[in-house]
Chain length 203, copies 2
């Protein structure tokens, strides 16, 4: 028996991705749905729109609200929260590691750890020291994984994954796909899971 | 005994405002919360950001998704839905009438009627004929209300209401206020009502 699938496209710099990374495994299990983790980079997608950075920065009238909303959402979900002192953070390194980890048993733990470092502990997740700490905390061979993550084939894979996100019509994160059906934002995670659970499983 | 209040800022051209207009009275009643209807115009606020129209139009990569999302949301809430052939529609006239109607017993019915004309029947809600039809359908004196709505004092009131929205930090619609606490988007209506219900009623 195959279970229904949800594709979970996320970016470590994205605060609303933080909410979904922290709760998707538990919510998906409740719906009997499997999660395919799809890390990607939003930067090149925003650049394709002519944006130099996050719309939360480019639209300063929205920034204060977003942080207030995040504080409330994190309280609702029981998550720690701190406005990051750098936003959005560079995430190429953790994204490369996560791409290596996709499908590995440590993937979800690693992603939750990186997200908490960024949005609960205000740590610089772009640094090798920080990513290494996250890996070591999971008893993984950090040096070996970092070397493999930074090798040319994996760099190219992340570029291809981001390009795939763009061609699928992704314009923000988190984004969920159930088959061809796209759902944007943590606010749609529950709808997406319900849709997946009601769909015929792909065999 | 005073009941807790929610301020409901909405714009007839806004598709996500449609969702909230259709369901707020029922949801608020469930929470024991009273609704203060606050019609305003998004156009001048978008202009203050340097935008000539809705971001759903200015960001064409998002348009198709928004209509897909609306179709799903309307199905979820049991609402009729049709992509409007003109978007966003000019809404000065229905907003002026709604401003007159704020606090009147016919306010909620009128707003639901205008929203359905726009988003379920694809009618031109900027026209006097259409607004008149909505009023007449509610057995209201359409000619008299339209004349009062178009009189100078009411025009100035709508301008002041829109300016108040801007100074309150509103950047989109629907937006809810419970005291100083701002909630943006139909996706936050339930959180806002729960927050209102848990707050001390203003006396």
């Amino acid at each position: 028996m195959s279970t229904p699938l949800i594709e979970f496209w996320f970016e470590f710099a994205s605060n609303y991705s933080y909410l979904s990374v922290m709760r998707i495994e538990q919510e998906a299990a409740r719906h009997g749905v499997s999660v395919q983790w799809r890390p990607f980079l939003l930067g090149p997608i925003f650049q394709s729109f002519g944006w130099s950075t996050s719309p939360f920065v480019l639209q300063p009238w929205k920034t204060e609200y977003v942080w207030r909303d995040m504080a409330r959402q994190c309280r609702k979900y029981g998550l720690a929260w701190q406005v990051p002192s750098t936003f959005p953070r560079a995430t190429v390194l953790p994204a490369r590691v996560a791409l290596l980890g996709s499908g590995q048993p440590w993937m979800a733990d690693f992603c939750r750890q990186v997200m908490q470092l960024n949005f609960a502990s205000d740590r610089d997740i772009s640094s090798a020291a920080c990513v290494s700490e996250a890996l070591t905390g999971l008893r993984l061979p950090a040096d070996q994984i970092l070397a493999e993550a930074q090798a040319e084939p994996n760099k190219l894979r992340l570029r291809a994954q981001t390009e795939l996100a763009r061609t699928k019509g992704i314009f923000g994160a988190p984004t969920f796909f159930v088959g061809e059906e796209m759902f944007w934002g943590n606010d749609r995670l529950d709808d997406a899971l319900a849709y997946a659970a009601a769909s015929k499983p792909s065999s």
